[in-house]
Symmetry: D2
Subunit: 339 residues, 4 copies
C-alpha cells in the first residue's frame, strides 16, 4: 500500500499533549487529517474538534475509532487509560501512535504485547520522540558507523526548571528517567539488566519531601553503564544532554552545540557541506509561512521592494568589483505600496 489520500486519524485525549498533536496534524505536517477526537471531558473534546474542519467529538475512545474515515489512532490520554484504548484499536486492527508510557506498569504492557501478538502483526509505535530529535539521530548514526568503537558508558543529564505540583519522587524515575531508559536501550542497542538509584541531599529549591535530584545508574546486557542525573527543579532551564564514551572516542549532544566528538587528539563538530543541509528547515518554514499567510489573504515576508533593492545593490557591487573603489547605490523613492 502507498496511499495517496490523507490518513484519517482519531486522537484519543485532548489535553495539552493531545490538543498539540491535533494542531500538528492539522497545520504542520503533511498527509494526515484529524477526523475524530475523544476525551472524557466532552466540552474539551468539542472545543478541540471545532478547530478542525469535519472533525467529530466523542467521549468514548472506541466511538471515535469507529467514526467514518478513521484509518489510524493517536493515543494521548493519561497513562492509565492507554491499555483500554490500545485494545480497542486492536479490535479494529488500526495502527496506533501511543504517547509514552505505553502503560504505567510492566504487567499492563505484557497484556498489550499479548494482544498485539494475537493480531499477528505489529500495530503500535510508542511516543519515545527523542529517537526523532536531530541531535540524538546524529549520535545514533555515529555509534552505528563504528567510528568510535564499542560504547562503554553513557552519561545523561536531564534537567527541568521546576516540577509540577503533583510530582512524586517515584515519578522522577517513571516519568522523567523513562526517556533515558529508552535512549540508553536505543543508542546502545542493549537491554537494561539492573538499576541503582542514589539520592543526594535534596535541593532547597525542590518541594518539601521530593527527592530531587537523583542519580540513576543503569547496567546493560552488553556490560555498559548508563548514568542519569535527573534534576527536575534545577531552576535555570530545560537541558537534556548525553555523552557516549566509546573505545576510541566520545560524542556528546545537548549543550548548545550540535554533536561534539572527542577523537584522535581533536574535539569538535561537523561543518555542513551544502545549503540544503544547513537551510533545509528554513525552506520548509518559508513555504509554510507563505501558504499560511496566503490562505489568510495576506502578503507577509520580503516583497517586491526587497527584491528590487537587492538587485540594485548587487548591480552596484558588480560595478565596484569591476572598476574598484566605492560605488554609490541609488534607489528610486520607495512607493507607498511598499512602505
Amino acid at each position: 500500500m502507498n496511499r495517496r489520500e490523507p490518513l484519517g486519524v482519531a486522537v484519543i485525549g485532548t489535553g495539552r499533549m493531545g490538543a498539540d498533536h491535533v494542531r500538528r496534524i492539522d497545520r504542520v505536517i503533511s498527509g494526515a487529517r484529524v477526523v475524530a477526537v475523544a476525551d472524557t471531558d466532552a466540552e474539551r473534546a468539542k472545543a478541540v474538534a471545532a478547530t478542525v474542519d469535519g472533525c467529530t467529538a466523542h467521549t468514548d475512545p472506541a466511538a471515535a475509532m469507529a467514526a467514518a474515515g478513521v484509518d489510524a489512532v493517536l493515543i494521548a490520554s493519561p497513562g492509565p487509560a492507554h491499555e483500554a484504548a490500545l485494545l480497542a484499536a486492536f479490535e479494529r486492527d488500526l495502527p496506533v501512535l501511543c504517547e509514552k508510557p505505553l502503560t504505567p506498569d510492566a504487567a499492563g504492557a505484557l497484556r498489550v504485547m499479548e494482544a498485539e501478538q494475537a493480531l499477528g502483526h505489529r500495530r503500535v509505535q510508542v511516543g519515545f520522540m527523542r529517537r526523532y530529535d536531530a541531535e540524538y539521530v546524529k549520535l545514533k548514526a555515529l555509534l552505528t558507523s563504528g567510528q568510535l568503537g564499542r560504547p562503554l558508558m553513557l552519561h545523561n543529564r536531564h534537567r527541568n526548571v521546576a516540577s509540577p505540583p503533583f510530582f512524586t519522587s517515584a515519578m522522577l524515575i517513571s516519568d522523567s528517567v523513562a526517556h533515558e531508559v529508552d535512549a540508553t536501550r536505543w543508542l546502545l542497542g542493549q537491554e537494561i539488566t539492573a538499576v541503582t538509584v542514589l539520592r543526594p541531599t535534596p535541593s532547597s529549591g525542590a518541594p518539601e519531601g521530593l527527592s530531587d535530584p537523583q542519580f540513576v545508574i543503569l547496567e546493560t546486557s552488553g556490560g555498559a553503564l548508563s548514568d542519569v542525573e535527573i534534576f527536575v527543579n534545577c531552576g535555570f532551564g530545560y537541558q537534556v544532554q548525553a555523552e557516549v564514551v566509546c573505545e576510541r572516542g566520545t560524542a556528546r549532544i545537548g549543550d548548545g552545540h550540535a554533536l561534539i566528538t572527542n577523537m584522535a587528539g581533536r574535539w569538535g563538530g561537523i561543518i555542513a557541506q551544502d545549503f540544503t543541509e544547513r537551510f533545509a528547515q528554513a525552506y520548509d518554514d518559508e513555504v509554510q509561512a507563505w501558504v499560511d499567510s496566503t490562505r489568510r489573504g495576506e502578503v507577509t515576508g520580503p516583497g517586491t521592494w526587497d527584491g528590487y533593492a537587492a538587485a540594485a545593490v548587487c548591480e552596484a557591487g558588480v560595478r565596484a568589483l569591476e572598476q574598484g573603489g566605492r560605488v554609490d547605490v541609488a534607489l528610486v523613492d520607495r512607493p507607498p505600496l511598499y512602505r
Copy 2:
C-alpha cells in the same frame, strides 16, 4: 478570508529547486497541494507532475497558472524568466512566492514593482529564505528587542565548499552576496547606500580566473557598516555566519552553536525553558514519520516491546529508589514478533 481547503499551487520551473518545492508542498508542509507545474522541458515537467496525485504538466507558465484549482504561484524558474512569469501571475491576480533573484537586474525589478502597484495590492513574496532560518530569526528578535542598543557593524562570512563550473567573479556578488545584501537590509532595517569590493590574491583552490575570495563592504543609510567575506571555494564546508556589533554588546550566529551574545561581561547563549521549545521539531518529525510509515502500511519506530522494556526498567528503578541498592531487571523472553 481564512480558507479551510488546501491552497492549490502552480509551480513554475521543475529543476532542482522547483522539484524540491513540489516535494515540500506535497510531503512536508500542511495546507497546500501542487495542482500544476510548468517547465520549458516538457519531459521534466511530466516527471515531476507524476509524483503528485492530480497534478497537471505544462510548458507554458501561463497555462499552468490557468489550470483548474490554481490559487497561487511558486516561481522557481531561472532568474531571466521571472519577470514574464510574475506579470502572468499579476494578470490573474494570483499570490506569488518568487525564488531569488526577483529579476536579474534593477530595471526588471522596477517594471515588476510598477505592475504590482497597478494591481493596487501586494502579491509577491521573494524567496530570501534566511529570514526564516531559526538562527537569523533569533538574531533579528534580539536586535528588535533593543537589549544590545543600536547596531553599528555587521560582520558576515559566506563560504561554500566549491563553486559550480559556470560561476563568474560577478556571480560572487550577484548570486552569493545577494543573500547578505538582504540580510543586512532586514537585520539592520536600513537601505544600503554604497558598496566597495576588495580582491585579495585568489586562493589556489579557486578556478583559474575567478576572483575568489572577495571582501565586500556595504554602507547603510543609518551609518552602519556591513562587511562580507565571500569565499566560494573554501574547500572545507558550507558556512554562513553573522555577527552584529551593537552599542552594548554583540551577537553572532552560524558557528555550530545557536545564537551567542557578548553582553555585560559575559558571553553565552540561551537555555530552553521547556521541552516543547527544545523538542518541538522532534515531535513534528515523529508524527510525520508515523503518518508516512502508516500510509506505506508499515510500522517503524519504537514499538510495544520498547514500551514494555521501559515500563519494566522503571518499575525496577522505583523499587531501587525506595529500598536502596541495586535492583535486577527481569524481562520476559522477547517474542518473535518483536525481534
Copy 3:
C-alpha cells in the same frame, strides 16, 4: 618573617617529576634556588645537580637536607619513600612540599600526621596541584561566592591516552582517581564517607586484565555525590573535566573552554574586562623570553624594524582616518641588519 634572599631548596628524588621541579625552581619561578638534590641513583642526582650553579648531589635524603643553605624540602621520590623523607625533614623542622601521594596508605599518613603534631606546627604542603589550576581556581571561587547555591553533585571525567605498562586496576583508583578525591573534598569542602566502584566491560584498547574504564561514586559528609569516569586508555587525549551541579545552576571546566556556567536561562562564560587579565601570562612570557635570550647574548622577538614598520603603518592609518580613502604605506628598504 618575610625574607628577601631566595629560599634554598633540597629536592629529594630526581626522576621525571623531581628533575622537572629542579628546572622549574631554577628557570621559571622566582624567589628560590636549588641548593641540593638527592636520589638513590647517584649518577642521576649528579646529572641534575650539574644543571644548577652551586647545587650539590647526594644519595641520602637526610644528607641533602643537611647541606649548607637548605631552607626547605621538595619531595619528589616514589611514594613509598615519602614517609622517611618527611620524618627526616621534620627532624630539621624544615617546610616541605611533598608530591602526591603523601604516603601510599592511610596508616603511613597517620604516622606523618602524628609526627607533625609533635612538632607543634604545620610543615607540609601536599602536591595536589589541581588546586592551583586556573580553571579549578575559578570553579572554587564561584562555589565559594554562593551564586549557584549549595553543591549537590559533582561529575568528573579523567581520561588518559594510554596507561603505562605497570598500571594495575587498583592504580586507577589510588593513582588517578586520587586527584578527584582531593578535588571533591576541596571543591565541596566536605569529607568523603563512602565509595562505590563500577566496572563496565573493559575497552578493547586497554591492556589484557586491566579493568578500564571504571566508574566511581563518592558520597560526602554533606550528602552530595561525586561521580568519576576514569578511563586511562581512551586513546584520543588527556582530558580532565568537572561539572558541579548546584541548587541554582551548574558550572563546568575542562572542555576546551574556560569555566562555563548554566544559570537563570543562560549558558556561557566570563569576558575579561582588561588587558592585564587577558594578557597577564603573555607579559610574563615576554619578559622571561627577553631575559633568557639576553643572558644567552642573543636578540630574539620583534625588533627595531618591527617597531618602525608599525609606526609607519599607523602614521598612514591616521592619515586614512583623517582624509578618508585608501592611503599607501611607504617603507624604507629593509637594512641588512634586520633581514
Copy 4:
C-alpha cells in the same frame, strides 16, 4: 655567553606599566633582578625602588643605566621619551626591551634604526607582547605548518570596555590597532602596503567627538587583506579575536576557547595529550605559591590532613573495586592542628 648570575635590569619609567614590570622581574620570572629604576617623578621612582632589595632610584634614565650591576634596560616610559632612552642605552651598548610604540612616529623609529645599525648589532626587542600569547603562538605555529595553505584574509576584533579620557580618534589607530598591525605582519610574514579606515556612526556609548568604532582594512605585500574592528567603548568586556582564512581552512582565537579550526568538514580544537601540557602552569603556580608562603613563614595549600584523607578514601576505593558494592570510609577525628 650563557651567564649563570641573574641579569641586572634598569627599568626606565615607573608608571603603571613600569611598576608592573618591576614586580614581574622581582617576583614572577626567573634569572633577572631590578638594580635601578628611573622616573621623572623622583618620588614615584623611590617608592618603586623601595619594593626591591638593593635597587636604586634615579630621575635621569642615563644615570639609571650607569648604575652598578646594570646589564640590560627595560624602557616603559611614555612613547615620546623612548628615542632618547634608546640612544642612551646604545651608548652603553646595553640590550633593551622597549615597550610599544618604539617611537610615536616613523621618523623617530628610522633614527633609532640608524643608531642601532651604527652599533653593528641588534640590541632592541619591542614590546609587542601578543607574539608571546599562547593563543597567538598556536595560531602562528599552525600557519607556519602549512596545513591550512596560504593565508588570504585575517579578520581581527579588538574591543575595550571603555577608553581613557585622553583618548583621541587617531589613538584608536596608533595606540590600539598598532597591535593588529604587528600581529598582521607577524602572522602573515608580510609587510603592509596600504590602509583604509572606515567610520560608522559612532556608538552613543563613546565620548562626544570620538570616532568609535572604526573599521580598518590593511592590504599586504602578499596580496592578503587584514580587517580590524576597533571598538574601544564596547561596554561589555575586553576582547581580542583573530581569524585567519586560508586556502584550505580557517583558524580563530580569542572567543573563550583555545584555537578553533575549520578544516575538511570539521570545526574544533586540539585535545592535550599529556598532563604536563594541560597542567604545566598549575605546577608552576603551585611551586611558586609554596615558595612565597614559605618565605613568609606560612603553610598554605593542601596539608597533611588532606594527604591522609585522600589515602584513606583511595584505600576504601580499592576495596570497593575488589569486592564490589559500597564501602564506608572511616577517618580518624581531625586533629586540632588541621582544623
